[in-house]
Symmetry: C2
Subunit: 362 residues, 2 copies
């Protein structure tokens, strides 16, 4: 294989999938993995075969790829507010069981109008903010948005969901247990308020890779939606939610230049590795743009588009032409940069797999 | 068109292409644009039709896409050091006029061995470092690498080249004239040293978008290789090398959420916009992750994978469902995130074009 390329170790992926599934099963919680990490139907089927209830995606175009591959139960965890997208998603609802996200009265009305025209009832979930200040109805708006869904005969409110990540009191944290417990407690408060209003909340869906275990341990949610756990990355390692040996995907690069004996130029830069998780930021304090496997004293210092600069340790024996492997800081956005990846099984056999939903941004 | 998508204004692209070509023509310098920005044969042909001598690419896979589209003169400005890539590039040399980059004795030997086996003479250029400390033979190695090329009957040394960017005395600068003049002066010193050694240097190739004008003005190079100028971006605007009205490409996004009246959630994040050029860094001090067109008081504050957060100005009249346009900080790595872009001509007609060399990293 020519570098740079993503190498995925099948055994580790399967173990990661099984471990998360076992955890969810033990607590009696459904697992609906987010496919934003692998963007690949093949891997989604491994998750479903292990026992996942369905899948989660961010965009309609991703859902479309997954449905074409034969997946039938999909939650699109993203507010859909424009006419063209609503038309597209309604077409998908006729092919598979789709759950839609809503976080505004505007969004609820738009979906309801379209559903009415089609004579359908759409299955929707209300996204609530739990401290990330991103998508999700804010606390003071939740009741209003929930009523606009609940009161419409063309929408069925199947529950509430959130994405929180490792955040406590609106700040990033390394305490993923605290973040997960806080997530569930906020969702339970929302559920209580909605129940008081006479609005049933059948499902609470929460939990990303850092918080999923703490969330399911509470047994106060019906579903978790972690994504990154399937591969893991340097960020998850630093968050303490995986071992380095549980990182299933790395980028293999070639040293194309070596200067001053220690400064290696590699054939991957910002078009090969994600740069959305920067080094040296609190609380993760990542050391460089990835972890160089087997070379603990090497630091991935900087990148341009097609070049990376790695400072090698003092006693390295590497030279121009040698390959090294780097576990990226953020595997999800790294995978989205690659057309293919290579899965290596226990016998060392390698299969080239297309990242079929790569670049599905719409 | 569904958001997020890249909107390219044809008139501005054509003007950008013509302006750079006119500048080069006036100085009698060849223009060989770098296609890493657009990664699209259609745009490369616009550059060639305007008078470009040939094109530059970073990777063999990009060259391959361009050759398939019918382009015949390509400089691959990247050291090729592995057997598999050398085999691939030799196959391309049989289909088009290819110039190869070398910056190490190792690389020169590898290419020479392959050329000998094939009974060919490969056209190579020596990459020299001019202060970026990236690829390029360092000063003390240049003579040795040059001899290894010059002495080999299967390699023809057609000249030297560099990539420097807006750097003076190894630090990023806003003084693009000083950076360009320094670039040429260093290359002239290398040429003088090589000439003393009896090694002819027919071509000096230099100049990226920030430095190209200063470089060609010296008339002491034979060729410039700017790339970003074709579209321009927030970074080039801050560097002072273009006006905002000369930014030809923007990302159109939809506001999917609006909180506290001013915090807009947009449907593009780090899988839609490049994050390799971070805000608030010296010397550019970019204000956010892009420039929101027509809303000078809006700030593109942060991103996750599929979400962006834009703080709108106090008197905005935007709402959920509205579209806004953002000029990215770095258009090259942004384009590489998209499968397609939409070119709008003067009559408002829109054509969907595939980014054919997207993800060509090998």
């Amino acid at each position: 294989m020519e570098t740079p390329y993503i190498r995925v170790q099948k055994r580790i992926v399967k173990e990661n999938i099984q471990r998360m599934q076992d955890d969810a099963n033990k607590q009696g919680i459904a697992l609906r993995p987010h496919c934003k990490t692998h963007k690949t139907p093949e891997i989604a089927f491994w998750q479903l075969e292990a026992g996942a209830k369905g899948i989660t995606v961010a965009k309609i175009s991703e859902a479309s790829v997954m449905i074409e591959a034969g997946i039938t139960d999909i939650f699109i965890a993203y507010p859909i507010v424009t006419d063209d997208k609503i038309a597209n998603v309604i077409a998908l609802c006729k092919k598979a069981t789709i759950t839609l996200a809503v976080d505004s009265v505007f969004g609820a009305k738009k979906l309801a109008e379209a559903a009415k025209r089609e004579g359908m009832v759409l299955n929707v979930r209300l996204e609530v903010d739990t401290g990330l200040n991103r998508a999700g109805a804010r606390s003071e708006k939740v009741i209003e948005v929930a009523h606009s869904i609940h009161n419409d005969p063309h929408l069925y409110l199947d529950g509430i969901f959130t994405f929180k990540g490792a955040v406590v009191e609106e700040k990033s944290t390394l305490d993923t247990s605290a973040a997960g417990e806080d997530e569930v407690s906020r969702l339970q408060q929302y559920k209580a308020r909605l129940t008081e209003e006479g609005i049933p909340v059948p499902v609470i869906s929460a939990g990303s890779t850092p918080t999923a275990r703490a969330v399911s341990k509470t047994r106060n949610v019906e579903e978790i939606r972690p994504g990154t756990y399937v591969y893991n990355d340097a960020m998850q390692y630093k968050l303490g939610v995986c071992e380095l040996s549980q990182c299933a995907a790395s980028v293999v690069v070639t040293i194309v230049g070596l200067h001053d004996d220690r400064l290696a130029v590699i054939d991957g830069g910002s078009k090969t590795f994600a740069t959305d998780i920067q080094p040296d930021q609190n609380p993760l304090r990542l050391n460089g743009f990835g972890i160089v496997s087997g070379h603990p004293d090497a630091v991935f210092l900087r990148m341009n588009e097609e070049h990376g600069i790695v400072q090698l340790g003092e006693n390295h024996r590497l030279n121009i032409g040698d390959k090294i492997e780097i576990i990226p800081n953020h595997i999800c956005s790294t995978v989205n940069l690659h057309n293919h990846f290579y899965v290596e099984d226990e016998l060392g056999e390698t299969t080239k797999i297309r990242v079929a939903a790569r670049g599905c941004l719409q």
